[in-house]
């Protein structure tokens, strides 16, 4: 530990702000690593403390819909936020088409391409059924029957059968395939779910296994062409294949900070506002008090428009403001190191807010599973 040379003053608010800001300059990014570790600053603790963390940790919600959630986690380190993000993408199980049995496919789309397209279609169904009833399928071992491990609680059976024919009642001069042919387009809604064994108990009515979006185009057919396919869905993880990822995207960005250090007035202010996303910078008239305050830089500018930071969260941190010489030394850009704006888009099997909670649960389970193993470890020394 660092040698203590008598008590030092606790860090000032500015110093804490400085430590908590990643500097964004014209060509460089500074102050990127966290320093909140014991022994890093003399006379400062920084040890892990659950209660201290509880007091400082905050969640702010911005949007919460079934397929999109946005919220801020404030007061965590990047390593923790990133663990949650990684778990969201790759370690939450979901159900997807894994095996495609092609009985007949005379369409122009090749079997393997069709199989790949089918795998990527997101499906949904009873949450309880998918999470609690459905379990993981195991590949049968050598010598085992190929269906020895296939049961109603680990496999969902689907069928897709479509045959394209001429429509007798089609208008004579029509060139629209929808009018001319029956089944010219095969959509995700044409996939039928075939309940097995105990599945009807969970997956019936509104809870049936179905594509999240019924309008996904799978293949196009012409008269005489036919698709006849059976499919098996299994549970899997995003680390195995992206089709098993329960999210469309799960990402975070750091909260941008914009500090105007010297007055930006009049036409400059308008130009300044145009350097940022709409709504980030607002223009306000200089008040009488500001104009009276000596050394503020506003003296004699009462009523002129000045640039003020209104909503830094909207900013994309394009650094455009740093390219113009008139703003040099007047603005400081940065990002708050411990403020993560998460954005989670669910693919449909889970609600977006549930997904994050599940990610937290999985991280806890990971640590919980390893802890007894550390105690039971064989010591090699």
């Amino acid at each position: 530990m660092a040698p203590s040379k008598g008590r030092r003053q606790p860090p000032s608010a500015e110093e804490l702000e400085e430590r908590n800001t990643v500097g964004i300059n014209k060509e460089t990014v500074t102050n990127t690593t966290s320093t909140d570790y014991p022994g890093n600053y003399p006379d400062e603790e920084h040890a892990w403390d659950k209660e201290y963390f509880r007091q400082n940790f905050k969640v702010q919600w911005h949007q919460n819909e079934q397929f999109e959630a946005q919220f801020s986690l404030i007061g965590v380190d990047a390593s923790i936020a990133n663990a949650f993000r990684r778990i969201l993408i790759a370690e939450i199980p979901s159900l997807a088409i894994e095996t495609v049995y092609v009985n007949n496919n005379t369409s122009v789309i090749q079997d393997e391409v069709l199989a790949h397209r089918l795998g990527l279609i997101p499906f949904t169904g009873s949450k309880k059924g998918i999470r609690e009833y459905m379990t993981f399928w195991r590949k049968p071992g050598e010598g085992e029957d190929s269906y020895a491990t296939t049961f109603d609680n680990n496999t969902v059976s689907l069928k897709l059968a479509a045959k394209c024919t001429h429509r007798k009642d089609a208008p004579k001069d029509s060139r629209d395939p929808h009018e001319l042919y029956e089944n010219a387009h095969v959509y995700a809604r044409d996939i039928t779910f075939e309940p097995l064994g105990g599945q009807p108990k969970y997956f019936s009515g509104d809870d049936a296994i179905r594509p999240v979006n019924p309008d996904i185009l799978i293949a196009k057919l012409r008269p005489g062409q036919e698709i006849d396919i059976d499919m098996h869905m299994h549970k899997g993880f995003g680390w195995d294949h992206a089709k098993y990822s329960p999210v469309a995207t799960a990402s975070y960005r750091l909260m941008p900070t914009i500090r105007i250090t010297a007055p930006i007035l009049g036409a400059d202010a308008e130009k300044f506002a145009a350097c940022f996303m709409p709504g980030v910078i607002a223009l306000e008239p200089v008040t009488r008090q500001e104009a009276r305050a000596l050394g503020s830089g506003y003296e004699g500018h009462e009523g002129e428009m000045k640039a003020v930071v209104k909503d830094p969260m909207r900013d994309t941190v394009s650094r455009e403001a740093l390219r113009h010489p008139e703003f040099e030394g007047k603005v400081k850009l940065g990002r708050r190191r411990d403020h993560f704006i998460f954005s989670i888009e669910s693919a449909g099997q889970w609600d977006s807010d549930e997904l994050f909670l599940e990610a937290v649960r999985i991280l806890k389970k990971k640590a919980g599973a390893l802890r007894p193993q550390v105690t039971n470890m064989v010591y090699a020394f």
């Binding site: 892990w48 659950k50 509880r54 919220f71 390593s79 923790i80 370690e91 193993q373």
Partner: protein, 170 residues
């Protein structure tokens, strides 16, 4: 499957005998007779699935948990206060989170993690401590701290979600 694994282990031990002059190999070298294939990904999945399903039958869940293969080991060359651990089937997700939380322990002098090779599903963690604690204790505390952190995050997250939803519905 089990027979196969045993055969593989035996084969590896033979290699160990032949390779006896390699004693000076660095501590990160793979230990022979330690099959990575022990318990395929699918088998591990089965264990996890039982966690969810087993809520009704506690006994069965415990049985399954005992069967989970040992995924942590201490690497040769380690001492009480300076040890390297090897985790199987873990990556940056746990590695970096664990590194952060262990570095937060005042008894720890140094902590870092690495993934020695991208095609091996392994994560190595190095911990060096002061005399006040041991590397293994610091690791166990780190894992416990992560669990505590997850509790706090989950609590606050869901409370704020409920508040937000209530405010939206007004």
């Amino acid at each position: 499957m089990a027979g196969k694994t045993r055969a593989r282990a035996a084969e590896a031990e033979e290699v160990d005998q032949a390779d006896i002059t390699m004693e000076d190999a660095p501590p990160s070298a793979q230990k022979p007779g330690y099959s990575q294939e022990e318990g395929s990904a699918m088998q591990e999945d089965e264990g996890e699935e039982n966690d969810v399903a087993g809520e009704e039958e506690e006994e069965e869940e415990e049985e399954e948990e005992e069967e989970e293969p040992q995924r942590v080991r201490i690497l040769p060359g380690s001492t009480e206060t300076a040890a390297s651990f090897e985790f199987l089937k873990e990556g940056h997700t746990l590695g970096n989170a664990l590194r952060y939380i262990i570095m937060k322990n005042p008894g720890v002098e140094f902590c870092a993690y690495t993934i020695p090779h991208p095609s091996e599903d392994k994560m190595n963690l190095r911990i060096q401590t002061y005399d006040t604690t041991t590397a293994t204790a610091a690791l166990a505390k780190g894992l416990q701290d992560i669990e505590d952190l997850c509790d706090v995050v989950a609590d606050e997250f869901w409370t704020q979600r409920d508040k937000f939803n209530a405010a939206q519905n007004k």
